[in-house]
């Protein structure tokens, strides 16, 4: 079978292929009612471009969906981490306990301060017990932030007690002036709770 193709048709085909190669699938082969086998090829190229656009649209939609899901997961994770990092417990009416676990950096200290001060105000708390038993390390500039929080709790009319201070954390507190009287420290969370309940008259005063 021999086929005579006009220069114009051949150029038209090449233009479409070059455009498609550079990612532009909107340029199509101009179709005319030519009674020859090349028409099938020309139409086939247009159909292929239709499919490429369809798949590109599907890919873009999937990418967008993935991005939305990723953002949602990240937000949920942030919320979960924030909730888990500041588990404020009402140990007794007016008595809040916050067991801190892990490393505390500036961002976490800021979150803890914000959440805790909000709870102190909301619960009209008289005492706050900060348990540092699970605190492995406190970043350099974070200790002053924690001590500022202790003072802020005092300004809200509540007394702050620190428990579970580890030997490597104690010097940090001293260095920041935290042992100057406004920080009350006890060995264990249970000691602090017993002391507070005794002050409230709910328990016999423990031996000091």
């Amino acid at each position: 079978m021999s086929l005579t193709i006009s220069q114009a048709r051949l150029h038209g085909l090449l233009d479409v292929l070059v455009n498609a190669g550079s990612g532009d699938y909107d340029v199509r082969v101009r179709l005319e009612e030519n009674e020859d086998a090349l028409l099938d090829v020309e139409l086939g190229i247009n159909y292929l471009l239709d499919d490429l656009i369809d798949r590109r649209d599907q890919n873009e939609a999937q990418e967008e969906e993935l991005l939305t899901r990723t953002r949602l997961l990240a937000r949920q994770q942030d919320e979960l981490v924030q909730a888990l990092s500041t588990p404020v417990i009402v140990a007794w009416p007016g008595v809040l306990a916050l067991p801190l676990v892990g490393r505390i950096d500036d961002a976490r200290a800021a979150t803890i301060t914000s959440v805790l001060l909000g709870r102190v105000a909301a619960e009209r708390a008289t005492h706050v017990i900060l348990d540092l038993t699970g605190v492995a390390a406190i970043a350099g500039p974070t200790m002053p932030a924690l001590l500022r929080m202790v003072r802020a709790i005092g300004l809200l009319g509540a007394q702050c007690l620190l428990t579970g201070i580890r030997p490597d954390v104690a010097p940090q507190i001293v260095a920041c002036g935290g042992a100057d009287g406004h920080v009350r420290a006890l060995a264990q969370l249970s000691d602090a709770l017993a002391l507070v309940l005794a002050e409230k008259g709910a328990l016999a005063q423990p031996h000091k």
Binding site: E33, L43, Y47, D50, D51
Partner: protein, 100 residues
């Protein structure tokens, strides 16, 4: 069955067509007269591939473009089930042969 096809064929049109010829008209011999200027959307073309399981189809068209479109859509199908003709006389003769 005799069917007249014209205009822009959407996915909905293709779904209706396939549902009929794989449903209540399954196995019937079909004479499909397709007008010049008829165009099939990409989704319609894909859906019409399911017609492979329908009865013998003879398409009649005078348009080279429509013929090319049908050729491309039926390229991978059994040639004894689908054929394009330039006039109804030849198409009917082929369909009768299929019956015979």
């Amino acid at each position: 069955m005799r069917v007249h096809v014209s205009g822009d064929i959407s996915l909905g049109d293709a779904e209706e067509y396939v549902a009929k010829f794989l449903g209540q008209y399954r196995g019937r011999h079909v004479l499909s007269v397709v007008a010049s200027g008829t165009e099939y959307s990409a989704k319609a073309r894909k859906h019409l591939l399911a017609m492979e399981e329908a009865g013998p189809h003879a398409t009649v068209t005078t348009s080279a473009l429509v013929r090319s479109a049908i050729n491309l859509m039926t390229r991978s199908t059994d040639p004894s089930r689908y054929r394009v003709f330039g006039n109804e006389f030849e198409a009917m003769a082929w369909l009768e042969d299929q019956e015979g």
